[in-house]
């Protein structure tokens, strides 16, 4: 990591503002932590004095001091942390998994935060990964969310897919349209190409709204937009995607208007999931090679 030198007067001012003295955090340790935080922001250059001060002053300094003290095993700091943050962690665990599955992760997180593991005679606390860029509360939630998702994904890899549903054949139903599979393949390919042409932010909005099923307000927290703005962007992107799909089906895949309608209908009839990554790979396209532009 790029080492950024911190001016002594700035370090002293921030030390006082953080209330680090309360937890007996050594000034040198605090300055070193500030340097590490700055190094994560200025990865390849030395910032000017004002720019550096602005970034460091924007850190969650009190949380950083508390984390440093906890990592060093300061009893009063640890008690304060447990009192202030354990209820928050449990609430977060309940919000992440209302079934209670994340609670045990929250408990195990305490062991890692306390630093039960040692390396070279030194406690290895998870707090060493906290640099004050977010609030301590949000960082704890992020670590918890990370562990929950990783466990879920690991379980999904090892569990046999016994309950994959196969569409039941309905007795007496009309014979399937032989063109449907072809239309479905074409429209999936067109969608993969159209999505790859969207900007990253458009894809973020679409993914969090349609796949992760966040509310408009929640998506807006990520994009820094009001929910009404998110809604307008989603509407615009969806219309652009539809126009792009229709253009590809008509101009590139040479379908008639009736066939295009059938292609869209095939989507509603098909119950399966769609793997865009696989489709892109089959087409020999990569998302990186696609022109990064927004369709308007």
């Amino acid at each position: 990591m790029h080492a950024v030198r911190i001016d002594d007067r700035l370090a002293a001012r921030l030390y006082e503002r953080a209330g680090a003295e309360r937890w007996r955090v050594a000034p040198a340790v605090f300055t070193e932590a500030l340097s590490a935080s700055a190094g994560r922001v200025f990865t390849d250059r030395d910032p000017g004095a004002r720019e550096l001060a602005r970034v460091l002053e924007s850190l969650h300094l009190e949380d950083l001091a508390l984390a440093l003290a906890c990592a060093a095993g300061h009893d009063a700091a640890w008690e304060h942390f447990v009192r202030e943050h354990r209820p928050l962690l449990y609430r977060s665990a309940d919000a992440i998994d209302p079934g209670g599955g994340a609670r045990e992760l929250a408990d195990s997180l305490y062991a890692d935060l306390y630093g039960l593991n040692e390396r070279g005679g030194q406690r290895q606390s998870l707090f060493r990964y906290y640099h004050g860029r977010s609030s301590l509360a949000t960082w704890l939630r992020a670590v918890l969310a990370q562990r929950h998702v990783d466990r879920f994904r690991a379980n999904r890899r090892v569990e046999p897919l016994l309950d994959e549903e196969t569409p039941a054949v309905v007795a007496g139903a009309a014979p399937p349209d032989p063109d449907r599979p072809r239309f479905l393949t074409l429209i999936k390919a067109a969608l993969a190409a159209a999505v790859a042409r969207l900007t990253a932010r458009d894809r973020v909005r679409l993914t969090f709204y349609y796949a992760q099923e966040l509310t408009l307000a929640e998506v807006g927290r990520l994009t820094g937009e009001h929910e009404a703005t998110v809604s307008r962007h989603l509407t615009r992107t969806r219309r652009a995607l539809r126009a792009d799909l229709e253009r590809q089906l008509r101009d590139e895949m040479k379908l008639s208007e009736a066939e295009i309608s059938q292609a869209f209908e095939s989507v509603m009839d098909d119950p399966g999931t769609i793997d865009l990554g696989e489709i892109l790979a089959d087409r020999g396209e990569s998302k990186k090679s696609a022109a990064p532009r927004s369709i308007r």
Binding site: L222, G224, K287
Partner: protein
């Protein structure tokens, strides 16, 4: 909008739902932003270049998408501080302000006679305030895709956007804050040590619940939990009108017949037997025994995303476009809440 347009819009939405769910599943964890970067993003502390880099990664990484979604859900809205320069209403407010300035200039410049005529015309056309009266059953109007903010909706949304704090957001924040102490009490009782043997049955129920949710998730069943005042009684709702019910804290779930095929998006249970459930296309269900469901007529076929209820008579429902509707008679009549 023609039927063809509507059908195609719905097909695009369906495509998006199914295709984006596991997009980028093969991403390499070592390339993912660390927890602090994602946390700083949610806290609004990343610089523009860092946000762009994070978005570029997350837009193609299923792991980070799931993490961020979990993080956002776990972070109360009141903790989010969107910097003023990132709030859309700052720029958006210039539009009505400019329009207002132009209107004022015209008012000053226009002759008195013309101004009086204009005023009279507006007074003659002004509609009286109305309460929406629902007359079930009604023939279903054409289905609208989600999201489908038309011009009127957009105007309404923009007007709400201009306010520093929308009432529904405040209500939601208050609701979350009210919820927290209750959960805290439950959380504070068992301390960090491992659970006693007596809790083994409860843990077993939780494990069964986790397995069930995992299996449902593999099938694309994104269930939304509905808690009741009795911790052992819950419901969860999801796609295709799915409703499941547990009376043993999630150890086992029983599928219930909702009688509808629309996706159900949220619910509220003011008691262990009274449950309101809402969903897409204006779907509103009410149960007074927790098991049998009655469809309640709703004045518009908009997607509904949230519901709060005090009992079987009083409920407030929020639509995807931010409007809220209230009933005080079990859903026989609905009144849009005026929020301006």
């Amino acid at each position: 909008m023609s039927t063809r347009d509507t059908d195609r819009d719905r097909a695009v939405e369906e495509l998006l739902r199914r295709s984006l769910r596991d997009r980028g599943a093969a991403s390499r964890p070592e390339l993912c932003p660390d927890a602090e970067t994602l946390a700083a993003w949610v806290d609004g502390k990343l610089k523009a270049a860092e946000i762009a880099a994070a978005e570029a990664h997350v837009s193609d990484c299923a792991r980070c998408q799931a993490m961020l979604a979990a993080l956002v859900r776990a972070t109360p809205a009141v903790e989010h501080r969107i910097p003023w320069w990132r709030r859309g209403w700052v720029v958006g407010s210039l539009v009505p302000l400019t329009a207002g300035a132009i209107a004022a200039a015209i008012w000053i410049a226009a002759p008195d006679e013309a101004r009086r005529a204009t005023t009279d015309r507006f007074e003659a056309q002004a509609p009286a305030p109305q309460t929406v009266q629902v007359q079930p059953p009604q023939p279903p109007p054409p289905v609208e895709p989600r999201p489908s903010p038309d011009l009127a909706d957009r105007t309404s949304a923009l007007q709400k956007e201009m306010r520093p704090a929308a009432p529904d957001r405040e209500r939601k924040a208050k609701s979350e804050l009210d919820e927290m102490p209750r959960r805290d009490q439950a959380a504070a009782a068992p301390a960090a040590p491992p659970p006693p043997p007596a809790a083994a049955e409860a843990l077993s129920a939780q494990a069964a619940d986790l397995r069930e949710r995992s299996a449902l998730s593999r099938q694309g069943f994104a269930a939304r939990d509905i808690a009741s005042p009795d911790p052992s009684i819950r419901w969860r709702v999801g796609p295709s009108g799915s409703i499941q019910h547990t009376t043993n804290g999630g150890a086992t779930w029983e599928a219930l017949s909702s009688g509808v095929s629309e996706e159900l998006t949220a619910g509220a249970a003011p008691s262990a037997t009274t449950v309101w459930v809402v969903g897409r296309g204006g779907t509103v269900l009410l149960s007074t025994d927790g098991r049998r469901w009655q469809r309640v007529a709703f004045p518009e076929r908009v997607d509904l995303v949230a519901v709060r209820a005090d009992d079987g008579l009083n409920a407030t429902i929020t639509a995807a476009d931010g409007r809220t509707f209230k009933t005080s008679d079990g859903g026989r009549t609905w009144s849009p809440l005026q929020e301006f």
